[in-house]
């Protein structure tokens, strides 16, 4: 499936910003099941300098500096992406979940995701919540699917309840949140069980094909999680929609938690209060 994604972020400041520095992670990854065909980031007003790098996690990051007073900043990322349905997990995903706990068996690039991270520091409550799904000897995939289903059932989608900085403990208490909270909670659960799990930022299709329901999280950037299964590799799961991502999920970046993949962060000098608005449009192209 091919998509055109337009992701617009707009800051409006009450006072002029004199200088600001930003890092954007707005360029979709190219993966076995996904190809980024074209990508551009338009910044208005024009930045003084722009640089692109790959970060530690392999994501493409764009660094830019805004010099000179401005009251508004608009960053528009336009990407054309082709997505295939990821390969179905192989039979190894049916191995008992305990077999994935042994860190010594994990590939080096996976171990990074097995530990606590700045935004995911699971409490005993989180471990307590996770345990019922991980009964002894249960196949990994089965256990994880159930965990994701429980999060979907127990937590209500509520964009007013949390912010990007809400800690897990508060999400546990509120039983509300958005895709970021549900993904980080799921990751926390998996890590407390000794598994490696990572955070995926991306998009889902805005207008579904006829007959299919419109998914929650469209019109904004989306997030889900990925769990490592020895032998089978990474398996993505979307706790917000309780689905296994397929052709309608477009992967932007991956990291330990939101902090590693935040689509656009900035440090502004001046500016007073700022107002942020984000618009995402994912358009399916006729094949």
């Amino acid at each position: 499936m091919r998509y055109d994604v337009t992701h617009t972020t707009r800051y409006r400041y009450t006072d002029a910003v004199l200088l600001s520095h930003h890092v954007a992670r707005l360029s979709p990854l190219t993966l076995p099941h996904q190809t980024c065909l074209s990508q551009e980031i338009e910044i208005d007003p024009a930045p003084a300098i722009t640089r692109r790098h790959r970060d530690f996690y392999g994501n493409e990051m764009t660094f830019f500096i805004m010099e000179g007073a401005h009251h508004e900043l608009r960053v528009t990322a336009r990407s054309r992406v082709e997505v295939h349905r990821p390969a179905m997990p192989g039979p190894l995903a049916d191995a008992p979940w305990e077999s994935a706990r042994d860190h010594e068996q994990l590939p080096l690039d996976v171990i990074e995701y097995a530990f606590d991270s700045p935004a995911i520091r699971p409490t005993e409550e989180v471990a307590h919540y996770a345990r019922p799904s991980f009964t002894p000897g249960r196949p990994l995939l089965e256990a994880v699917l159930e965990l994701v289903e429980r999060i979907h059932a127990d937590f209500r989608f509520d964009p007013q309840a949390t912010t990007v900085a809400t800690p897990l403990a508060d999400v546990m208490r509120l039983r509300r949140g958005v895709c970021q909270d549900f993904s980080q909670l799921g990751i926390g659960c998996l890590r407390t069980m000794g598994l490696a799990a990572r955070y995926v930022s991306g998009y889902i299709e805005t207008l579904p094909p006829p007959g299919q329901p419109r998914l929650v999280g469209a019109d904004a950037s989306h997030a889900w999680l990925s769990v490592y299964c020895p032998g089978a590799g990474w398996i993505d799961l979307d706790p917000t929609n309780n689905v296994v991502p397929g052709e309608m999920h477009i992967t932007l970046a991956r990291g330990r938690d939101y902090g590693d993949v935040s689509p656009l962060r900035g440090v502004m000098l001046g500016g007073g209060e700022h107002q942020l608005s984000v618009a995402v449009d994912v358009l399916r192209l006729d094949a």
């Binding site: 800051y11 004199l18 200088l19 600001s20 520095h21 930003h22 890092v23 003084a48 300098i49 640089r51 790098h53 970060d55 530690f56 996690y57 660094f63 500096i65 010099e67 860190h103 080096l108 171990i111 990074e112 097995a114 530990f115 606590d116 700045p118 990007v164 900085a165 902090g259 590693d260 935040s262 656009l264 962060r265 900035g266 440090v267 502004m268 000098l269 001046g270 500016g271 700022h274 942020l276």
Partner: protein, 839 residues
């Protein structure tokens, strides 16, 4: 102590009382309790001085430390943020022959840790090949992912390494910990050396102690060499978290000693991928940043977002190769306690050498065998977090109850990879001088290694810290310990060396002192204002006390009553006291309150507190003499205790006037006429102008007739002599007005201040941003003209209704441009914009 066979010592008297402890390694005394031979020159020299002389030299050393403002901020200390540094009169003695071995071990350690950092921030083979357990790196908050893959000049990440060493009972030096990100203490070591070598010149000479200056020169040159090759005049800055940091004294001290500019995060800015320092008239490129900020605080954009101590975009500037940060960002990783257990193996593998300086024997609990050992021996070990963890101090097994040990063991079993067990090093002791006698105190040596080009240089000495008392298992300045100088005692005279600039230094003539950061200009401006404000209040009080005690102290003369109202109006005297009689006891009571440490807020206490705070944050810009004067000023204000007598008070106020005059003298005669001086002087002039106008205005309002206070006004404005010389008469209003307001030759007159300000403004850098200042300068010139044209004979005429309307109107016209100027300077030259982070 009897003369010993080994040393043939004649040292007897003072050391006789010294009790060598059983089972503990004593740095000065060997087996058989005899003085170690190499220590003999030191102790025989100390002994020759004798108890009284040592006591007096110690007092001198203390004074030197206080006068030089050597402080150490103790977090959470209610006694104030800066505590005087404590230095013992006995240095830690180390034999030159032994030092050679330590030195080799330190250099090896620097090479090793630098190589480890190079691998972990590069190919990560040590993790890939299973040499280091992945959890020590991947679970480690000190592993800064954004810094991975960044190349550094010459492959050097550690430009300065500090190693805490302690000697175990077997006589071997063991490493307690490494400081690899922003090691502190080198400046204190230098100051200790300067003070102690001056206090004990005889001993210092006899012991043939090598000097420290060559080390600092190597460190300085090593940093300057890091500048990109094209940079002809490399600019190195010292980045400090600011005056509240525990070792801020040292940041300012080293910056001044090494000749680098001291900056805070807000003084730097990243533009075009480069780092600049924000000075008054332009941005100046920075080549090298010697940072005293911890890793994660250096860049709110890519590192810890909550902190604005750092510089947004710094990581990217480093990545682009435009600036070098020393030590490299992320180098705190090798402070990870869990890595220590692997160092012997890493040394063999990476350097092909045996590790010379062994750490205290450590077990990483992530290995099942090690866990078993630690569980079995927990009661005898020190248990630490394997990863850097600020909130978790080491646990001493021997201090735990049975219950606590059980809890510890279950924590170890639950997450074994998070802990290391370490054999406790029973620290050696060294003699310390208590003021009366020598006592053994536990000692830990912090040694330093710096990189200079492609070689490593060890500081011949270091900072020795001593335990507060015998029970405390951790030796730390934060916990109230003391410090010692460290003397390498040799058989040969050391090579002379001092901190000279390298050969070809080009003459740099800076007309304006252009490297003045805006923040510093701001601070100097306010320093000038507060010093002037303090002086005005002191003079007011002095005039009042003089008048009140002149002849008949029981009666309230009209003059005293008017003066008291004047002081109340100007905020220098509590209104509550004004209703009391002016009897001596009540006067003394009020004055005692004004000067007591917990007295009321006053127009004297507030500026003095500000002077202290501001001076602290610009101390690298103040000469040592100036600093001493300001310290004296604070001491003279706070020294007095108990009830004050009136004649004490006068003496006290006279002393404060003298201190303030000394500061003004330093300002006039000892400061380069750069922007720094201009802003300091503008602050003073602006404040004096405002205060003079207020003084006259208030006097007219409270004194009826005003003639009762004219003599005091002249006194307050330091113009009595001039008046007497000029008029030979009792003070009258018109000539007083002329002298205090209109006389452009009187340095205390309002007109003089306006002219001085106008001159300063003409010399400031001008660009688009300074339009506001230009506007205020024009208004100021207009005000000066009004003064010039004023007819004080007319204005000072006392009408029947005591109405000085035209005069008051004239004074009001002075205020506006002055206050407007203060705001305009802030808007144009001082950067106050706030930093915000959006995630």
């Amino acid at each position: 102590m009897n003369p010993t066979a080994s040393g043939g010592s004649t040292v007897t008297s003072l050391l006789e009382e010294y009790r060598v402890r059983d089972g503990v390694f004593d740095e000065a005394f060997g087996a058989g309790r005899g003085l170690r031979p190499f220590c003999e020159p030191l102790f025989s020299s100390l002994d020759r001085l004798g108890r009284h002389e040592l006591a007096s030299r110690r007092e001198n050393a203390r004074r030197a430390i206080r006068d030089n403002g050597v402080t150490y901020n103790v977090y959470g200390d209610p006694a104030g943020s800066d505590r005087p540094w404590t230095l013992d009169m006995v240095p830690l003695p180390i034999a030159a022959a032994e030092w050679i071995r330590i030195e080799a071990g330190l250099v090896q350690r620097a090479r090793l840790l630098n190589t480890i950092l190079g691998d972990l921030y590069g190919p990560m083979r040590l993790v890939g090949e299973g040499v280091l357990p992945p959890s020590l790196i991947h679970a480690n908050p000190a592993f800064l992912r954004p810094c991975h893959g960044i190349d550094v000049p010459g492959g050097v990440r550690l430009h300065l390494l500090a190693v805490d060493l302690a000697r175990s009972p077997d006589g071997q030096w063991r490493v307690l910990s490494d400081r690899t990100q922003a090691p502190s203490g080198a400046g204190y070591a230098l100051e200790n050396r300067i003070v102690l070598s001056r206090s004990l010149p005889e001993a210092f000479r006899e012991c043939q102690v090598p000097q420290l200056s060559a080390f600092f020169r190597a460190h300085r040159d090593g940093l300057a060499m890091l500048a990109p090759p094209l940079s002809r005049d490399p600019r190195v800055v010292v980045l400090t978290p600011g005056p509240l940091n525990e070792t801020y004294f040292e940041h300012a001290y080293l910056a001044r000693y090494l000749g680098f500019t001291l900056v805070e995060g807000g003084d730097l800015t990243c533009r075009d991928g480069r780092v600049f320092i924000k000075t008054l008239d332009r941005l100046q490129p920075v080549d090298v940043i010697l940072r005293r900020l911890d890793d994660s605080y250096c860049d709110p954009l890519e590192l810890r977002a909550e902190s604005t101590l750092g510089v947004a975009g710094l990581v990217e500037a480093v990545r682009a190769g435009h600036v070098t940060v020393a030590n490299a960002l992320g180098s705190g990783l090798t402070e990870t306690p869990g890595i220590a257990a692997f160092l012997p193996d890493l040394c063999r593998r990476l350097l092909g050498e045996e590790l010379l300086l062994q750490p205290a024997r450590s077990w990483w609990c992530g290995h099942p065998d090690d866990l078993t050992y630690v569980l079995e021996h927990a009661q005898d070990l020190v248990i630490k977090r394997a990863l850097p963890h600020a909130a978790a101090p080491p646990i001493f097994g021997r201090l735990l109850t049975r219950e606590q040990l059980r809890a510890l063991r279950s924590a170890l079993r639950a997450r074994p990879e998070e802990f290391v067990g370490q054999r406790e090093v029973a620290l050696s002791v060294a003699p310390s001088w208590s003021g009366q006698a020598f006592h053994p105190r536990q000692a830990v040596l912090r040694a330093y290694v710096a990189v200079a080009g492609d070689s490593w240089v060890v500081m011949p000495g270091g900072l020795t810290r001593t335990g507060a008392d015998d029970g405390e298992p951790i030796v730390s300045m934060q916990r109230g310990g003391g410090s010692k100088d460290t003397w390498i005692i040799g058989d040969e005279p050391p090579q002379a060396a001092s901190l000279l600039p390298p050969a070809q230094v080009r003459v740099r003539r800076e007309q304006h002192g252009t490297d003045l950061p805006s923040r510093v200009a701001d601070n100097l401006f306010w320093l000038g204002r507060q010093v002037e404000r303090a002086e005005q209040t002191v003079r007011l009080l002095r005039s009042f006390v003089t008048a009140a005690t002149r002849e008949d102290t029981a009666a309230r003369t009209p003059e005293v009553a008017a003066l008291e109202r004047l002081l109340v109006a100007l905020g220098a005297w509590p209104a509550s006291a004004a209703d009391d009689d002016v009897s001596l006891p009540s006067l003394e009571h009020t004055l005692t309150e004004l000067f007591s440490p917990d007295g009321p807020e006053s127009t004297l206490r507030a500026p003095l507190a500000d002077i202290r705070r501001i001076a602290m944050s610009v101390r690298d810009r103040l000469s040592l003499d100036t600093w001493r004067i300001l310290s004296q000023l604070q001491a003279d204000f706070t020294l007095r205790r108990g009830r004050l007598q009136v004649d004490d008070v006068l003496q006290h106020l006279n002393q404060l006037v003298t201190d303030l005059a000394a500061f003004a003298g330093m300002e006039m005669e000892n400061m380069t006429r750069g922007y720094g001086w201009r802003f300091l002087d503008m602050g003073r002039r602006l404040e004096r102008a405002l205060e003079t106008a207020r003084l006259v205005r208030s006097a007219l309002a409270v004194a009826n007739p005003v003639t009762t206070v004219l003599a005091s006004l002249l006194e307050i404005a330091d113009s009595s002599m001039t008046y007497r010389r000029r008029y030979f008469a009792e003070p009258q209003l018109p000539p007083v007005l002329d002298l205090l307001l209109g006389d452009t030759t009187n340095t205390r007159a309002l007109a003089f201040q306006l002219n001085a300000l106008t001159d300063h403004l003409a010399q400031l850098p001008h660009d688009d941003a300074s339009a506001q200042v230009n506007h205020q300068a024009a208004r100021l010139a207009a005000a000066a003209q009004l003064l010039d044209r004023a007819d004080f004979a007319e204005l000072g005429l006392t009408g029947e209704d005591q109405d000085y309307g035209p005069l008051l109107h004239l004074l009001d016209q002075m205020d506006e441009p002055l206050l407007g100027l203060s705001d305009a300077l802030a808007a144009s030259y001082f950067s106050h914009a706030e930093v915000r982070v959006s995630q």
